[in-house]
């Protein structure tokens, strides 16, 4: 076991950790917002809305994330130059980054899984609480904002914590589309120094530490609103 490469590569490792965390935060944050819409569409939408939301979830949960990522990066990416005017627009430099594609596909994928969790949670909010809100004359939007959604999120919190950890463990896939995340740094170290296990071990420690941070953070949030057992 040699770890002297750490001296030279630790700035790169920190950059990689930053990229990994950025991917996680973006996909979980935006994906959660998308998931709220998808979950409500399934719980209280009309037949068309319900069907399309369910179809979206089946599609994204039924195919590997790697295929979704490659479909977006290689497939959709190869059409982008054909869009008139896009090459000249300010968006173009962004659209050549693997990071953007990874962030978009992780967001879409996370939203599908999270929507299923939220759907279950929305259905398990006690009916009486919703009726009480309606009896007070709350508009549907106020009802969702003040009662339905907060209660559902609280119910789903332990599952959401699990989903976020799973999402963290999916981020290394970004390295296949040229993102320099933690795993990609380990890969680069391997190519430069021919060490296989040491960089993987160091990177693994990072992931385990991040997992511990996520679990702890959700523990703190859960403690804010204790559930009576």
């Amino acid at each position: 076991m040699h770890f002297d490469w750490l001296q030279k590569y630790w700035p790169l490792l920190l950059d990689g950790a930053f990229q990994t965390v950025a991917l996680l935060v973006i996909s979980v944050g935006l994906g959660f917002i998308l998931a709220i819409g998808l979950a409500f569409a399934q719980v209280s939408g009309g037949p068309i809305l319900r069907g399309s939301a369910r179809g979206y979830c089946t599609l994204f949960r039924g195919t590997p994330l790697l295929i979704q990522l490659w479909l977006l990066y290689y497939g959709v990416g190869s059409f982008l130059p054909l869009v008139p005017g896009l090459r000249q627009s300010f968006l173009w430099p962004l659209l050549r980054e693997g990071f953007v594609f990874a962030a978009v596909s992780f967001t879409l994928n996370y939203a599908a899984y999270e929507a299923e969790v939220l759907r279950g949670a929305l259905l398990s909010v006690p009916k009486g609480e919703l009726e009480a809100g309606r009896a007070l004359g709350m508009s549907p939007f106020t009802l969702i904002r003040r009662i339905w959604l907060p209660r559902a999120v609280r119910i789903a919190l332990p599952t959401i914590a699990g989903e976020v950890v799973l999402q963290l463990k999916a981020t290394p896939l970004a390295f296949t589309v040229t993102v320099m995340d933690l795993y990609a740094v380990a890969y680069k170290v391997r190519q430069d120094t021919l060490l296989v296990y040491e960089p993987l071990l160091v990177v693994t420690l990072f992931y385990v530490a991040l997992t511990a941070v996520i679990t702890r953070a959700f523990g703190v949030v859960e403690a804010q609103v204790p559930i009576r057992r």
Binding site: R61, I67, G77, P172, T204
Partner: protein, 241 residues
């Protein structure tokens, strides 16, 4: 370029220069890898769950370490790490006996690695399912003087299956999707075949879409199979809700 003039159906044709046949072969490989890894995982998981519940201290500690590490580390890292560690370790073992190094078959390496990872998740699912069996049922079997093996076959196994099946179905879905990660270490299953097809014809969108459809088909068929299985193992149970 010749591919430029090919229509969608020519590109997806079963015979070369179409790639449809190669994609289907990739899909078969994906199912074969997944099924073999799943079977290995089931074996490991069964022993793991029994070991964890046996009350044997060292076994429980080792198994806890196994399930905790495997479940904490990203699958991609596990697959890459175990792939190299496995082949390297085997060759060192062979060298120690004075044998020449071997090129490990990609299929076996993929199955072994995925199976080892599945085993950890399987252990937890089965442990939970066994714990959910009412203790009285097992005690009754013991009171009848059944041997541990007979007890397992007649009481524990049929009673744990309804509890475990939803978790087992989830794991099957995740192994079919995780098997795509094997593409990263260069084994040619559906995902890698698709990438090759895309690289050769520059029709990335078409081929990844086709691969997505194949994966989706695998998922939907598996859903049906597991629903039937669940109906079978739950026969005789009271219907709730």
């Amino acid at each position: 370029m010749a591919a430029g003039q090919m229509t969608v159906w020519q590109l997806l044709a079963l015979e070369p220069p179409g790639w449809g046949g190669a994609l289907l072969a990739g899909a078969v490989t994906t199912v074969a890898i997944s099924a073999s890894a799943y079977a290995i995982g089931l074996g490991i998981g069964l022993f793991g769950a029994i070991g964890k519940l046996s009350g044997h201290r060292p076994a429980a500690v080792i198994l806890k370490l196994y399930t905790a590490t495997i479940r904490a580390v990203p699958e991609l890292i596990l697959i890459v790490g175990l792939y190299y560690a496995g082949t390297d370790g085997l060759n060192r073992l062979l060298a120690a006996f004075g044998l020449p190094p071997v090129e490990v078959n990609g299929f076996f390496a993929a199955v072994a690695v995925l199976g080892f990872v599945q085993g950890a998740y399987m252990t937890e699912v089965l442990r939970g399912a066994i714990l959910a069996i009412p203790a009285g049922q097992i005690e009754a079997a013991r009171a009848f003087g059944m041997s541990p093996f007979l007890r397992f076959r007649r009481v524990t196994l049929p009673a744990l299956l309804p509890n475990a099946l939803p978790g087992l179905a989830n794991l099957w879905m995740s192994v079919t999707k995780d098997s795509a990660l094997v593409a990263v270490v260069g084994y040619q299953e559906l995902a890698l075949t698709t990438r090759l097809a895309g690289a050769n014809t520059k029709q990335y969108f078409l081929f990844f879409l086709a691969a997505a459809v194949l994966y989706l088909a695998i998922t939907l068929v598996s859903n049906l199979v597991f629903r039937q299985l669940e109906r079978r193992v739950r026969r005789g149970q009271r219907v709730t809700a």
